[in-house]
């Protein structure tokens, strides 16, 4: 049971969250103009790295906000969390928020 720090509510049990996969995959500007291959990539390909991974979570059972996190998939360690719309973090840099305060 990971302890995930919601950027609004603070640390809560993993059970309160929904996992949303890779972060920063924008919906294509003009899907109609995309070749099948690129559309297929948008639909089905998501990063699956072993190591730091920028990903989305939703605090479903809490404030219902989607947010982004950088988590090391080799250890499950949360390296950073940031609110939707905030600049992308790589993890490791100070993001001004103590993860488990």
């Amino acid at each position: 049971m990971l302890l995930i720090p919601c950027p609004w509510c603070g640390p809560r049990d993993e059970a309160e969250y929904t996992y949303g996969g890779q972060a920063h995959v924008p919906y294509p500007q003009d899907p109609a103009s995309l070749p099948d291959e690129e559309w297929g990539r948008y639909l089905f390909h998501r990063a699956n790295p072993k190591g730091p991974h920028a990903e989305r979570w939703c605090h479903t059972a809490g404030c219902r906000r989607w947010f982004n996190a950088v988590r090391d998939t080799a250890t499950n360690q949360l390296l950073a969390v940031y609110r939707a719309g905030e600049p992308r973090l790589a993890g490791g840099e100070a993001n001004g928020r103590d993860l488990f305060a």
Partner: protein, 410 residues
Amino acid sequence: MNPRPPGADLPEHPDHLWRDPEPGRSYDVVIVGGGGHGLATAHYLARNHGITDVAVLERGWLAGGNMARNTTIIRSNYLWDESAGIYEHALKLWEGLEEELDYPLLFSQRGVLNLAHSLQDVRDSVRRVEANRLNGVDAEWLDPQQVKEVCPIVEISPDVRYPVLGATYQPRAGIAKHDHVAWGLARSADAAGIDIVQNCEVTGIDVSGGRVTGVRTSRGTIAAGKVALCAAGHSSVLADMAGIPLPLQSHPLQALVSELLEPVHPTVVMSNAVHVYVSQAHKGELVMGAGIDAYTSYTQRGAFHIIERQMAAALELFPIFARAHVLRTWGGIVDVTPDASPIISLTPVKNLYLNCGWGTGGFKATPGAGWVYAHTIAHDTPHPLAAPFTLDRFTTGALVDEHGAAAVAH
């Protein structure tokens, strides 16, 4: 009950399994991943295609990944024709594998029940049974009383939260001892002259002019005519080395065993609706699996609430398990595709091949996957049974959607 000590019935392993060779400088085929599929591929490259200048590279100890961690269920009762084709091919191979490998695999065709708990489960189950039969896969629809006859300890009272409304039953399905399978395949490949190299981690894939030329490893560079990836949960990491993004997500999947118990459970019971599957292994331990953890992870470790939930589900189905004990839990890494079907494919890189995306279904496919993958590698063209499972279905949209069709996933 049985007066013989339970351990007395288990077969012995042979006195020789495989050599421990140093990696060579070059091979015709390098298989990356010494799990069940990698070893089966090596076995069938030698047996079916006479290709023996082959190395199987394993980063840790042989068959120590999902092969060592799965719940050993074997069945072929999948919904779609494409899936039924490849899994039934595998099941037929299972039926002759002990003889083929001359190794006791404890392959036990004790049948698998897939329980239905809702009216929609019933519809989906009947649909799958009927499709199975037309595909030549043995399948029956059982009502609750018939379920009880196959497995007397299943609770079929209508008063429980999600009553058992019936089950699909595949009599030819069953279980096998995973280590024996891996070691039998390894011994066969080794005897054919194939090098099985452990503690040899692939750190890079060399590509030149759009063609694979070899792999870099923790034990040096190895040239290869063909490279076949077979690394389950780590497939994305490897394919990344060749610049190939895969539609895979790697998730933890947990399983557990109880202490040894006198025989109570004669078959395999799976319930997708309440997320539990159970069999009783030869020694007597209950072997159980659950749903996958929600997030991606390479930790080979899941979260405990999944286990707690699984136990609650198990007791709903099998109240007599109340005072059985969990002896050991563990986790593997399953590579899941968007349509819950595998990828067996050529790749944009010439002579680099992919076998991955088996999710929770890899063990049961072991000989079948090895057979068609070996063919695909040997002929540089997909085996007919593998043809529906190529990478380009994620471009065309011609998915084999076992997930969307609500068929059981494990």
